[in-house]
Subunit: 200 residues, 2 copies
Amino acid sequence: MSSFFPAPLEDLIDKFATLPGIGRKTAQRLAFHVLSLPQSEAEGFAAAILNAVGSVHTCPVCQNLTDGELCPICAGDRRDKSTVCVVAEPRDVLSIERSREYAGVYHVLHGVLSPVNHVGPDDLRISELVARVGAGDIREVIMATNPDTEGDATAIYLSRLLKPFGVTVTRLAYGIPVGSNIEYADDATLLRALEGRREM
Amino acid sequence: MSSFFPAPLEDLIDKFATLPGIGRKTAQRLAFHVLSLPQSEAEGFAAAILNAVGSVHTCPVCQNLTDGELCPICAGDRRDKSTVCVVAEPRDVLSIERSREYAGVYHVLHGVLSPVNHVGPDDLRISELVARVGAGDIREVIMATNPDTEGDATAIYLSRLLKPFGVTVTRLAYGIPVGSNIEYADDATLLRALEGRREM
């Protein structure tokens, strides 16, 4: 059955099917859609892939994605470069920037430690973080990995690695989300919220 | 927020987000995945798009997709070319071929009539079907559009258009699916199964 459609179409379906979360049926639908586009739009899609892969790379300082020499945050002089917020993915930088509160810089790990998925320290941008902290200009490292098993384990691993350098290592606060209802908070979140209670 | 990621990455996310069923978050995930591929694989993806768009076109006889002059079914001499099965999409040809029973040829409409989605007769390959039937070598046209409102309406429209040429126009049988249970059949299917009952 795999050779039923014309070979170039089968090939395109195969390519779409390698994308994460895209099954065979969806890949077919996407490939048919691309084929139905005007030639110039389909060519624009291919050009966008080549252009992104050719020009986007990681910032040599914070490892976030950029098409410049440094990323805009590291290149500017308005951020506090003695505070580094460690996140798992480039999209997490976007989330923290949205708070408009954070004035430090970032370090993007490009994943979290995950023995199940065979992701070890050498697969993440950890040596680059250690080198940054080792250079001596950093005072505080804020762990902002997700509050799940792998995110917590990664934060604990990094904190043990970085504390010998004499930096302060902190973790984002856990607790009840703002605007939500205690009645509907799960047990783990409530426990963390109690543990993290502060004097008023 | 839209200019937060490097421009070439934003552009690629935009392109993925134009695909059917792909929202903004999924488009981000796909674009990040493509960026994480080895350069040669990403280039292979772009090449697959260009190759498919450049070489796949519709068969001038049956309008199915092909990269040859005619599609393999029309090009061969082992099929009964006096019987034409009309389907909505190229993937429907695959489904009917799977039955290994049908020996005729096909006509692919590339859609169904749908006033809601502004799809009229001129948007489908209907004039090509009329020209085929008008050429005179066709005895039977089997309507194999989906048994839903739009598929039925399209079949009825085509049958009125084609009957004046003196061809037999038939519709796939409706009824209880083989291997299923009458207890769980919906009312509409049961009604059609009763209407279509045959002497044993």
